[in-house]
């Protein structure tokens, strides 16, 4: 057994319905060993550090192409990490989520290497099309940068959505699975984003919390997956038509968030600050 690899996680990696070559590497550079290692660490964070509950994971197609579309919640990539872990740890069979990583990471030593070994590619339209045509599960946050910069008070709101994901879904005939991620804003309660310091560190900006660095607090996190939405079309529709589809997905996510927040408050797990 490789160092720092849990047997259970390795089993789940083995169950992934992906073609790996003789070196345990897939066509995009994802390595079984590295995924198992990262998965082992993430499983601990997922199960012991946070209290994650997942609802409606049955809505995510077990195989074939799919697009997980959700809200950003919490600075840094906490939401992406937890959603990816949920598909790895709780879905049957487990699925590898392909995120579209920020371009700046490619230039940072170890950044590009780590990402590609974990099966994550740079956010380029060519990559998205290819992955979907390869029947992968893509994760998209249409709020983009604007979404990760949300401050504590706006944690359960949505900012403007980009429209590219709908054209992509139409072009590749991919079902969209909207999801809501709740609690990230409480895990990393951002009070300000420092742009200059961030640039200095090679990040787009650095989120600051009341206690200083953006270290996540061990709070409850919730993911709500909704039933898939399938749009009919070619992807060459006018912006007006596309915008209607985007609004439909955005409304679904807003609904999920609202429902989730209501339950969360009812359970007395609302933020304590």
């Amino acid at each position: 057994m490789a160092w720092l690899v849990d047997d259970e996680i390795m089993d789940r990696i083995e169950k992934l319905e992906i073609d790996f070559n003789r070196y345990g590497v897939d066509a995009y550079g994802a390595s079984k060993k590295d995924m198992a290692r990262a998965g082992t660490i993430m499983a601990w964070i997922y199960r012991r550090y946070f209290d994650v509950s997942v609802h409606g994971i049955k809505h995510v197609p077990p195989r074939g192409r799919g697009m997980l579309v959700g809200n950003h919640s919490g600075g840094l990539a906490l939401d992406a990490l937890i959603v990816t872990s949920s598909m790895m740890l709780e879905a049957e069979p487990p699925r590898l989520v392909n995120a579209m990583a920020d371009r700046f990471i490619e230039r940072v030593p170890f950044g590009a290497m780590l990402l590609s070994r974990l099966g994550q590619l740079t956010g380029l339209p060519e990559h998205a099309v290819r992955l979907l045509n390869d029947d992968r599960l893509l994760m998209v946050f249409p709020e983009g940068h604007r979404g990760t910069a949300k401050l504590y008070g706006d944690r359960n709101s949505l900012v403007r959505f980009g429209t590219g994901f709908v054209r992509l879904a139409l072009q590749t005939k991919t079902p969209i699975v909207p999801f809501a991620f709740i609690g990230g804003g409480e895990a990393i309660p951002t009070i300000a984003n420092l742009e200059k310091t961030g640039k200095f560190l090679g990040l787009p900006y650095l989120p600051i919390t009341p206690y200083g660095p953006p270290l996540p607090r061990p709070v409850a996190l919730e993911i709500y997956y909704s039933e898939p939405i399938v749009f009919e079309g070619t992807g060459n529709e006018e912006d007006r038509v596309i915008q209607d589809c985007v609004d439909k997905v955005r409304d679904r996510i807003a609904e999920l968030i609202e429902r989730g927040v209501r339950i969360r408050t009812g359970r007395g797990k609302a933020s304590q600050s």
Binding site: Y23, E106, L124, E126, R130
Partner: protein, 308 residues
């Protein structure tokens, strides 16, 4: 058919010549370098493709098809010379082919055409533009030759022009960019980067060239073999010891301390992947590569064992 092969004396050129003979073609070779042990069936001409003596070969032989492999790809050559040989040589080949009734010209190009950069996608299609000539100017002659060859598609419509962009090759010839990189005991890599490398067997490359010729392929095609693997895996499987060098030191160490003398732009190829999508070629020609990763590396190791 009569096939004229420029750059025949190179290790890849020889391999292609043998394959063409085996397929029953008559081979005429042009090269500045001699090939004394050329097999029967090969007519050798010692000439520079840019010179008049080479034109005379076209004039007297009247080949049916031309395979242009006389491009300098290694970076040891001074870049001005390379530029002259690669671009003027390519121009001469197409002009003579047009003038002397050649039906088909095959240009053998490289996947490095697309360039390595952080913002370039994996699996380039033939439609992608060359992206990083600015960071790696030493490759501009190959990019220019490739594009110039492609322009023959509209300049000389009667010619069936085909541009093949090959990924790295590796195997028994122990020759080529990747083989040279792996020859030493301790190939250097850039700390914190592990790009995917796409390579195919020397023999598969030669087979693909002959196949393209026999199918009278027209257009631009990427050609690759098995799926790409991380550089670290290639180095490990080739029984070499990978040395991780921070980028700053890497730039300083080039050409010193036993490090290869490489232009600065070459570092990008050790940081970012250049991988190509070869579906179009496979679909059009039914090409199937015969050698997998293990066989390619085994053949390379047999020819080029790890230095003790």
């Amino acid at each position: 058919m009569n096939v004229l092969l420029t750059g025949i004396a190179g290790s890849q050129g020889r391999l292609v010549a043998h394959k063409l003979l085996a397929a029953g073609h008559h081979v005429i070779g042009i090269d500045r370098r001699p090939w004394p042990e050329a097999p029967e069936g090969v007519t050798m001409h010692c000439a520079d493709v840019r010179k008049r003596s080479a034109e005379e070969v076209f004039r007297s032989v009247r080949p049916d098809a031309v395979i242009h492999m006389a491009t300098v790809t290694h970076l040891a050559q001074r870049s001005e010379d390379r530029y002259q040989i690669n671009l003027q040589g390519t121009r001469a080949v197409f002009d003579h082919s047009h003038a002397y009734g050649v039906k088909q010209v095959l240009f053998v190009g490289r996947h490095t055409f697309y360039g390595a950069s952080a913002a370039s996608p994996l699996y380039h299609s033939e439609n992608d533009p060359p992206q990083s000539v600015n960071v790696f100017p030493e490759l501009s002659d190959l990019v220019a030759s490739d594009l110039y060859a492609g322009s023959a598609l509209w300049r000389y419509e009667e010619l069936s022009t085909c541009i093949l962009r090959f990924c790295y090759t590796l195997g028994p010839t122990c020759n080529g960019t990747l083989a040279s990189f792996l020859k030493g005991k301790r190939p250097p890599s850039v700390l914190g980067f592990d790009p995917l490398f796409q390579f195919m067997h020397d023999e598969d490359m030669a087979d693909a060239i002959v196949l393209a010729l026999e199918k009278s392929l027209r257009g631009v095609f990427n050609v690759a073999g098995p799926s790409p693997v991380p550089l670290s895996v290639v180095i490990r499987e080739a029984n070499r010891k990978q040395v991780h060098v921070p980028e700053i030191l890497f730039r300083l160490a080039m050409g010193r301390l036993g490090f290869p003398h490489l232009p600065q732009g070459a570092i990008a190829h050790l940081k970012f992947p250049v991988t190509i999508n070869t579906e179009a070629f496979r679909k059009t020609t039914d090409f199937v590569h015969q050698h997998d990763h293990a066989k390619i590396i085994r053949d390379f190791l047999d020819a080029c064992p790890s230095p003790a």
